[in-house]
């Protein structure tokens, strides 16, 4: 009992990383080779990719060769084909690198076993090579997986407090600051599209943050879900620890929202699909009144999605923003529906990335952050909440996600 407490010092301010459950990177789609049969003195072991994935990579390699032939014959490539070609050649490069590293490892192993005079050097080299190999192989897996449909899109983050009253609102503010800090850390351009502060006290009622970096959606999509905080709130007088939550929704940004493209948005909807409501004022309007009544509400009738926007002084700009958010919500909704359909068709279990689950806990007394999906734990709350070390959590999730997706890919094959 006390031993386990000793191993997980719950109250010590211990900065550093440890893996709660060791992250099973590439487990299940790889066959682990415990290599030396003669003795157990091989310093590290490596994992080979599953034959199925290797086969897939070989298929792409063959396709690239065919394309190369076409190219040398002088056949014209259109834009799509060029893109495909570029993708294939990048993939094949990684695959070749992977094979080289794998062969090197294998020959080193043989050397260790067969040539005792070189053993010490070979072992050292082997130990250095293994991490390099692992990076290459995970890069290859990522490239083999079909990309996320919105992987190259900029993103929108919507934050809302969940249970926990004012403390939840304060936590929502903390999360917003964290994402702003993260955007600064990655040198991404960002903008707060709307933010409603709690009128009677601190914290926020809701906020929408736009991250204008292309591809930020691919990084931030793991943030979607319920975030949980455990701490003694500043509003608490008796020193009790409270648990509160905040919800984060991550949406892909489709197109940009500059004033010119708003008309393009409106046009892509069928007439009658969108209802635009403005603040209805009595009186004659026009020159008679100069109040800034700029609030706009959009209703997408087929889906029932309603977006209100009032932050800008110009009705036109509010409308543009509202259309951006509406488009993002619709795209996300369609994607989720499609994913759900595919999953049902495959009859596989619904993975734990379901957005209704709580995904992460921020425990202040223990200075701990745990992501419940991949089991990753980091003992540096200030570092994560400032946005500087959030990347490590996201990286762990991204690895976990590619593992899961590779698994799904293999299952469906």
């Amino acid at each position: 009992m006390w031993l386990s407490k000793f191993q997980f010092p719950s109250r010590s301010i211990f900065k550093g990383v440890f893996l709660g459950h060791k992250l099973p990177l590439l487990v299940r789609l790889t066959s682990t080779t415990t290599n030396s049969k003669s003795n157990g003195s091989i310093p590290t072991q490596y994992t080979e990719l599953s034959p199925l994935l290797v086969k897939q990579a070989e298929k792409y390699e063959a396709e690239l060769k065919d394309l190369d032939k076409d190219l040398s014959c002088g056949i014209h490539f259109d834009v799509n084909k060029q893109k495909h070609y570029a993708k294939l050649s990048a993939l094949t490069d990684t695959f070749i690198e992977y094979k080289e590293k794998l062969n090197e490892l294998k020959s080193l192993q043989e050397m260790i076993v067969s040539d005792p005079s070189l053993r010490a050097e070979a072992e050292q080299e082997y130990a250095e090579l293994v991490p390099q190999y692992e990076t290459t192989s995970s890069r290859l897996v990522n490239k083999l997986l079909p990309p996320h449909p919105f992987a190259d899109k900029p993103s929108l983050l919507e934050l809302r407090p969940g249970v926990g009253g004012i403390e939840a609102m304060i936590f929502t503010q903390n999360l917003l600051d964290m994402y702003i800090g993260y955007a600064n850390y990655r040198k991404w351009k960002y903008r707060i599209i709307s933010k409603n502060e709690n009128e009677s006290g601190s914290g926020i009622i809701d906020a929408i943050l736009s991250i204008e970096e292309a591809g930020s959606y691919d990084r931030l999509r793991f943030e979607a879900g319920v975030h949980r905080v455990q701490r003694i709130p500043s509003t608490e007088t008796k020193g009790r620890t409270h648990t509160s939550t905040a919800a984060v929704v991550v949406l892909p940004q489709i197109g940009d929202e500059s004033a010119k493209s708003i008309d393009a948005y409106e046009r892509t909807f069928k007439p009658g699909e969108i209802r635009v409501d403005i603040m209805r004022a009595s009186g004659k309007g026009g020159q008679h009144v100069n109040t800034t009544d700029s609030a706009v509400r959009l209703t997408h009738i087929p889906s029932g999605i309603v977006v209100s926007m009032q932050d800008e002084r110009s009705q036109h700009k509010n409308k543009a923003k509202a259309f951006t958010i509406l488009r993002a919500r619709l795209a996300e909704k369609e994607r989720l529906e499609k994913e759900e359909k595919e999953r049902k068709a495959r009859k596989s279990q619904v993975s734990s990335t379901n957005r209704s689950d709580k995904i992460r806990t921020y425990n202040f007394p223990q200075n701990r952050i745990t992501d419940h999906r991949c089991g990753f734990t980091l003992l540096d709350l200030p570092g994560v909440l400032s946005g500087e070390r959030l990347d490590e959590v996201i990286e762990a999730m991204s690895k976990y996600d590619s593992t899961e997706r590779a698994k799904e890919l293999l299952e469906s094959n």
Binding site: E199, S200, S258, A259, K260, D263, R267, V276, I278, R280, A281, G283, K284, G285, G286, Q287, H288, V289, N290, T291, T292, D293, S294, Q310, D311, E312, R313, S314, Q315, H316, K317
Partner: protein
């Protein structure tokens, strides 16, 4: 207007110091909070927010305090003495830009010439010029303050140079007023009836915006029919009530020549108020405009000759 309850004022002042000063102008706590946010974000640093709230309490328009009003893609400088751009104007101007740009009828190879009367800040002329590729503009106003402000707005928004004319269009003979040919004539003339001025106009407008840009009967619409129709292919004039539309419609219908060549429409704003009277000529160029403006508003009168005499 409903009375503001003292408890609302008390509540507002407890949220932010000075917020309660915004309530009489904004009428609701939500709107006041929004205005407070705009003031705190956009106020020039040398001015205090409490001062700004006091100004608002004294009915000074927000746009004069902040010195600007967004208009489509532009940020229009606002100064006392010149009418502040309204959202109703922004709405129809943006729709006009979309209608013209969506059309394949304009190839944008030959430049379109825009003429804006009673231009004020220049918002209509500048927004159209900014939104429509390959266009030139003339902006006319009687007031020197307005013309000076248009110059500033051209510089600030980096719009192409246009011709600015300070002139009273009601008294000058039209042949003296350039340009010779106009593709799109626009205007936001003073349209508040004198008898309505004290009753229907918001205090802030009445006290701080120029009466010259507000009060007018039918003289500008009369001027439109009598002097401008011969020079332009289409016109878009903002109106304050249906009376002004009726006047233009009757004048054109009753004139045998004009009724043959002009189609007239009425556009409502999204608040359901009549806002624009527009028309286009049924000449070789104008005939193609018909399908374009069918959805812009409601057509009330169709030119009686089919293709029109060229």
């Amino acid at each position: 207007m409903p009375r503001i309850s003292p408890s609302l004022l008390k509540k507002a002042s407890s949220i932010r110091p000075g917020l309660h000063l915004l309530i009489p102008e904004c009428r609701s706590l939500q709107q006041a909070t929004l205005e407070y946010k705009w003031l705190s974000e956009e106020l020039p640093p040398e001015k205090s927010i409490l001062w700004a709230c006091l100004q608002r309490y004294n009915h000074v328009p927000l746009q004069y305090i902040l010195g600007s009003q967004p208009f489509g893609a532009l940020d229009i400088i606002c100064k006392p003495g010149v009418l502040i751009p309204r959202w109703e104007t922004e709405e129809w101007v943006m729709e006009l830009i979309t209608t013209i740009n969506n059309s394949t009828l304009f190839n944008h190879e030959t430049p379109l010439h825009i003429c804006d009367t009673c231009t004020g800040t220049g918002c209509i002329a500048l927004a159209l010029n900014h939104g429509i590729p390959n266009s030139t503009f003339t902006a006319i106003d009687i007031s020197k303050k307005a013309i000076d402000l248009v110059k500033l707005n051209i510089l600030k928004n980096k719009v192409g140079k246009g011709r600015l004319i300070q002139r009273n269009i009601l008294t000058s003979t039209p042949s003296n007023v350039p340009p010779l040919h106009i593709d799109i004539l626009t205007g936001n003339p003073p349209y508040i009836r004198k008898r309505d001025f004290n009753r229907d106009v918001k205090t802030s407008v009445r006290l701080f915006e120029p009466k010259l840009a507000l009060v007018g009967e039918l003289e500008f619409y009369q001027n439109l029919v009598e002097h401008w129709l011969s020079k332009t292919d289409s016109f878009f004039y903002e109106i304050g009530d249906t009376g002004q539309f009726d006047y233009v419609e009757t004048r054109i219908k009753s004139d045998s020549k004009l009724s043959q060549s002009w189609s007239i429409g009425l556009k409502y704003d999204s608040n359901g108020k009549p806002r624009v009277v527009y028309g286009f000529k049924n000449n070789s160029k104008g005939a193609r405009l018909l399908p374009l403006f069918e959805n812009f508003g409601t057509l009330k009168h169709l030119a009686t000759t089919e293709t029109g005499a060229k």
